[in-house]
């Protein structure tokens, strides 16, 4: 099974955001989308599961065309972990159970409860389950969000900056969890992320986006200083620590044509 993004283009009003984006992600792969702020990483994620409808192009999961499915069918195939979830006075259990919405109409079945319980056990969240999510920390909330995405029974999970507001320990925990999901549950995962070093360490593929187009799609070992200088406009040095390339930013490159000085 693959996730195939085929020629996606998206524009807000008249402003082009995405231009003919195509790539594919294989089974057991974690793909990280990287690029400067405002380049359309989140838009790309949202176009993949049709929260936003791309004007051109399609998305396939395996052989199934997502752009020809009903909203509930899409939700059964792809789940989405937003960067921030609004919390309210719901227990974690109820919040996770919501992930069964695409399967439930009026009554929750025993099967739904069983799936929720299984996932909660799997993520070792038993002691969190009956706490209210509006009293949880950012890391706990993110775990609830991921559990909810898993309960949805997806073939693909999209994550928007899953570690953005987490401390170091929580970042490691969440990323380890994501790795486990990719490897053990065979779920293709695509995430947008700002931290290049995290992406290099945890993902199979890196997709650099610049000006609404794919600048380069590489594996972590193929990372070059040139790519990062091109995409971010920052001079960097790359070294290996524990066999893992690490990017160290040196200085921003001052362009000839800067738009408006200080």
């Amino acid at each position: 099974m693959k996730l195939i993004i085929d020629n996606l283009s998206f524009a807000y009003k008249s402003k082009d955001v995405l231009n003919d984006i195509s790539f594919r992600v294989e089974k057991r792969e974690l793909l990280s989308i990287l690029g400067p702020n405002g380049v359309g990483k989140t838009t790309l994620l949202r176009c993949i599961n049709r929260i936003l409808k791309a004007q051109k192009g399609t998305v396939f999961v395996g052989k199934d065309n997502l752009y020809k499915m009903s909203t509930f069918e899409i939700a059964q195939n792809i789940s989405y972990v937003p960067q921030h979830s609004r919390s309210s006075r719901l227990t974690a259990y109820d919040a996770i159970l919501m992930g069964r919405r695409p399967y439930i109409n009026w009554r929750v079945s025993q099967r739904d409860y069983d799936i929720v319980e299984k996932i909660i056990r799997r993520l070792d969240m038993g002691c969190l389950a009956l706490r209210y999510i509006d009293e949880m920390s950012g890391g706990e909330l993110q775990k609830v969000s991921i559990a909810r995405a898993l309960v949805q029974g997806p073939r693909v999970i999209l994550m928007d900056e899953p570690t953005a507001s987490l401390d170091m320990r929580n970042q490691m925990e969440i990323l380890t969890l994501i790795r486990e999901i990719v490897e053990r549950d065979d779920i293709i995962t695509v995430m947008s992320i700002h931290d290049i070093n995290t992406a290099l360490r945890f993902s199979e593929k890196l997709l650099f986006v610049k000006d609404g187009k794919i600048h380069s799609a590489i594996s972590p070992s193929q990372i070059e200083e040139k790519i990062i200088e091109d995409v971010y406009g920052v001079r960097v040095k790359i070294q290996e620590i524990n066999n893992c390339p690490v990017v160290f930013p040196l200085e921003s490159i001052i362009k000839e044509k800067s738009n408006g000085g200080d």
Partner: protein, 351 residues
């Protein structure tokens, strides 16, 4: 005990809350029927309701005078509260209520307009007794139509902006001001009697309801309740954010448009018959959030019952607090509602 059993036990508590509230309604009903100018003992009231009484005079008072008004209070409180919950969920805004959306202003304007243009404002003022509007139904219909038109306008504006909840609230507030200005203008033009009729109409008063009105309000409230209860799951999903809701397959635009329209129609039916009754739709959901949380599967019915109890008890107090005068219930709900709301705010507003 495994997790699912613990969860079921936790949910059972919420179910018990709802059962308790239902019991409270029945108790309040009996109290309300027994209190008034003529004191009738609760035991007697129960006998009358069960058809076991031989006190004909009291039976007349209870069944023909107090019962329709009490049932109207229950139905109206129920309806206003569920419309309030729905608006708060749809708009992602704790201020969602008929008042903030300008619906009450639209109704007041509609009533005022019908008084001036259609001449429904001949007032009979018999010796300090209640002022009565001549053609009750015509006024009601016009008020109702203005509410619906206002909601349609809000939805149209919102549609231009991707059904954003902020736009809905702001458009509602703007329209509210517009109708308020329109009402002032009409009041300025009106003569004394018309003015009295307009102002009087805005005092929400349950004594305007007879069985026929109760029946129509019930016909609006029951399907409304079923719709909101059916969608309670969707409102939960929506409360975790719009993107998340869409990713779970919820058609958020449809959920917002449909819910807003139904809650407006429901509110419009009630306030067009009874006049403006504030705060029930705003405060009952907030009171119940404290007790059953934000899970709409329980919040919707709990708020509904809370609204019914609140309005019934307020009306009972309003009837007797200034005997022999009878206060319109709206005066009391606002009097009680405002401080209660501030209390809830101070006591612990999360987020």
């Amino acid at each position: 005990m495994n997790l699912n059993q613990r969860y079921k036990k936790y949910r059972q508590k919420k179910v018990s809350t709802i059962i308790l509230l239902t019991g409270l309604i029945i108790a309040s009903l009996i109290v309300s029927l027994s209190i008034g100018a003529a004191e009738i003992s609760p035991v007697e009231v129960i006998k009358i309701l069960l058809g076991q009484s031989n006190q004909y005079k009291w039976e007349m008072i209870v069944v023909n005078i107090r019962l329709p008004q009490a049932i109207a209070a229950i139905v109206a409180g129920f309806g206003l509260a569920i419309a309030g919950v729905a608006m708060q969920a749809i708009l992602n805004n704790p201020l969602g209520a008929p008042f903030t959306l300008g619906i009450t202003h639209a109704a007041a304007f509609g009533a005022a307009l019908s008084v001036v243009l259609l001449g429904t404002g001949t007032v009979q003022n018999n010796s300090g007794e209640a002022v009565k509007i001549d053609n009750h139904y015509l006024t009601t219909v016009v008020a109702f139509l203005f509410c619906v038109a206002e909601a349609a306008f809000i939805l149209m504006v919102a549609k231009l902006k991707k059904t954003s909840p902020e736009v809905m609230v702001l458009a509602g507030i703007a329209m509210g001001f517009l109708f308020f200005a329109g009402t002032m203008f009409l009041q300025y033009l009106a003569d004394d009697i018309q003015l009295a009729a307009m102002v009087f109409w805005t005092f929400g008063d349950l004594s305007r309801a007879d069985w026929k009105e109760v029946f129509i309000m019930t016909v609006a409230t029951v399907p409304g309740f079923m719709y909101f209860q059916y969608n309670s799951w969707n409102y939960n999903v929506l409360s975790s954010g719009e993107e998340a809701a869409k990713s779970m397959g919820i058609r958020v635009d449809l959920l917002r448009t449909g819910g807003l329209f139904i809650s407006v129609v429901l509110t419009a039916v009630i306030i067009s018959f009874l006049g403006i009754i504030g705060f029930v739709g705003l405060i009952c959901p907030h009171m119940m959030r404290r007790i059953v949380g934000d899970d709409h599967r329980f919040l919707v019915p709990a708020s509904a019952l809370c609204g019914a109890i609140l309005l019934l008890l307020s009306d009972t107090i309003a009837r007797v607090i200034l005997l022999p005068h009878v206060l319109p219930v709206a005066v009391l709900t606002s009097f009680l509602g405002a401080p209660l709301f501030v209390y809830l705010l101070v006591k612990g507003y999360r987020r």
